[in-house]
């Protein structure tokens, strides 16, 4: 017995969510790098 292949229907809502996920991921990536940079800098200055 075969099943109807699953098709993902793209709506405006799902596209907007996709856009938000993309921008969120890119922004979080940069924020994480900045925070690591700050943490390492603070640690080195505190140790020296």
């Amino acid at each position: 017995m075969s099943e109807e292949p699953h098709r993902r229907v793209e709506t405006i809502g799902s596209r907007l969510t996709g856009l938000l996920v993309t921008i969120g991921f890119e922004t979080l990536f940069v924020v994480a790098v900045i925070l690591v940079g700050l943490a390492v800098a603070a640690l080195i200055v505190a140790l020296s």
């Binding site: 996920v21 993309t22 991921f25 940069v30 800098a41 603070a42 200055v45």
Partner: protein, 499 residues
């Protein structure tokens, strides 16, 4: 034995090159229109000349009418390699005629740097360049980064598009067909174009006090150079001109977006960030970014170049992101960069060499190759340590579960080694002209990995002509990831020595 190409081979190559030059003809109308609106009549006439040259090349190619309009692998690679060499030559006409470049070699250098999204420049007095010429420099980043071949694929679907797609060093097919993949890639670019330009314009207008028009101009230029990981900037002091942490942060987001593979964009667009975090490539780039960031920050702290923690972290993280994504924006001058010590210098150079993700606008060895190389070495070590007959897993996750075959490991390591050879070539020639190993290697990696950060070797007044040619070769071969270049060499050898 090499088989000499026949007239039909040349007709096929000419025909497909004609298609790509037709796209360039249309693209060159954009700066022409810009110059007309800005009432820059001298640049406008040079853009008209350039459009005419592209149109002539397109007409010659399209008139060759081959019997079979389908590309095989060798033809496709040759088309890509030749197009990427000839297109910037014609594209350099407006730069040369503007009088801001010393000669044809310098303007060709900049057009090659623009199209290959490198960002090294030999321009004189950038701050007084006509706006339309400045626009063309950045638009070259957009055309090259998005892949002019991709545009041709989107418009001319039939005829062996897959070889052209691979020729531009793109391997991922995220959609059922190359054409739909090409359209998705352009869709991602357009969405980021709108969002990025609006964000940068608002930052320039609201926080920097620029007029709305000036802010939009800078936003558009920085978007082209940031998202396409190019590195040209409308001002000679690059991103340092803006003196704005918010502007740098928005630009950093665009650089990261540009360095992400289109497979990752597709997974995020499909609201599946979990799969992105499982990817070998994502994990590798997070690891290499962390390693080079610690190296750079520790180096800067030890050298004591910056007095405050925030200043140190801001300069270090931005320069590192710019290097690792292959963008080449600078918030510090070449002279200041030369003053950086060994550790931070090494961190930035390693980041430039490693580059961003595969199938992105970024250059360098690329994170997936690094990840697969490390995995292959790890598997080899495990085979030695484990008892005979023990099974060593060769699977890895990249979009889906895949197997690291010996053939794949071999080809990944071969390309990585070719990059090392390419970096050493430029460094060797630079040293022969009297530059120090540190400076020659840094600049060579910057050219070969299509980054654009400079410690002053690329200079319009002092750089030797041979070194300019070598760096152009590095930008071209590095952008095409060697395969198309070797195919062109093979084609030429067969033409000369074949039977």
């Amino acid at each position: 034995m090499l088989i000499r190409p026949v007239a039909e081979d040349f007709r096929i190559i000419g025909f497909f090159m004609g298609r790509v030059f037709a796209i360039f003809t249309v693209a060159s109308l954009v700066p022409l229109l810009w110059a007309a609106l800005a009432r820059e009549w001298h640049p406008m006439s040079s853009f008209a000349l350039m459009a005419g040259c592209y149109a002539a090349l397109a007409a010659i190619g399209l008139r060759s009418s081959p019997k079979v309009r389908r590309l095989d692998w060798s033809h496709g690679m040759t088309v890509v390699a030749l197009t990427w060499a000839l297109a910037p030559l014609v594209g350099s006409i407006p730069l040369l005629l503007s009088g801001h470049w010393s000669g044809p070699l310098d303007s060709y250098f900049d057009a090659m740097s623009g199209l290959t999204t490198t960002g090294l420049s030999l321009v004189h007095d950038l701050d007084h360049l006509a706006s339309s010429i400045n626009f063309w420099r950045h638009f070259l980043h957009f055309l090259g980064g998005q892949g002019i071949i991709l545009a041709a694929l989107s418009l001319f679907a039939a005829g062996g598009g897959l070889t052209l797609y691979h020729g531009e060093a793109r391997e991922e097919r995220i959609m059922p067909s190359v054409t739909s993949t090409a359209r998705f890639i352009w869709g991602v670019a357009i969405v980021h174009l709108v969002g990025g330009v609006v964000a940068l314009t608002l930052v320039g207008w609201v926080t920097l006090g620029f007029s709305p028009m000036r802010s939009a101009f800078h936003g558009l230029m920085i978007f082209f150079a940031g998202f396409d990981t190019g590195g040209f900037a409308p001002q000679s002091t690059s991103l340092g001109y803006y003196h704005s942490g918010i502007f740098e942060a928005v630009t950093a987001v665009l650089m990261v977006a540009g360095a992400m593979s289109f497979g990752v964009h597709y997974a995020l667009w499909r609201r599946n960030p979990g799969s992105v975090l499982r990817n070998l490539e994502t994990r590798t780039i997070l690891g290499s970014l962390g390693f080079t960031l610690v190296l750079t920050i520790v180096g800067l702290a030890v050298t004591g170049v910056y007095s405050s923690i925030s200043g140190l972290a801001r300069a270090g993280t931005f320069q590192l992101l710019s290097a690792h994504t292959g963008t080449g924006f600078a918030t510090v001058s070449s002279a200041e960069l030369r003053g950086w010590g060994g550790l931070e210098y090494g961190g930035i150079a390693i980041a430039m060499a490693l580059g961003g993700m595969g199938s992105s606008t970024s250059g360098g060895v690329k994170a997936l190759r690094i990840g697969l190389t490390l995995k292959a070495i790890g598997n080899q070590v495990r085979r030695v340590l484990l008892p005979d007959g023990a099974v060593v897993g060769t699977g890895y996750f990249q979009g889906s579960r895949k197997r690291l075959t010996p053939e794949l490991a071999q080809s990944v390591m071969a390309v990585s080694l070719l990059y090392v050879a390419l970096f050493l070539l430029g460094a060797g020639v630079g040293m022969a002209y009297g530059y120090s190993l540190q400076h020659a290697l840094f600049e060579s990696v910057s050219a070969g990995a299509n980054v654009g950060l400079s410690v002053g070797v690329v200079d319009p007044t002092m750089m030797p002509a041979v070194l300019k040619l070598v760096f152009m070769l590095q930008m071209w071969a590095g952008r095409l990831e060697f395969v198309a270049v070797f195919a062109l060499i093979g084609f030429l050898l067969a033409w000369v020595r074949g039977k």
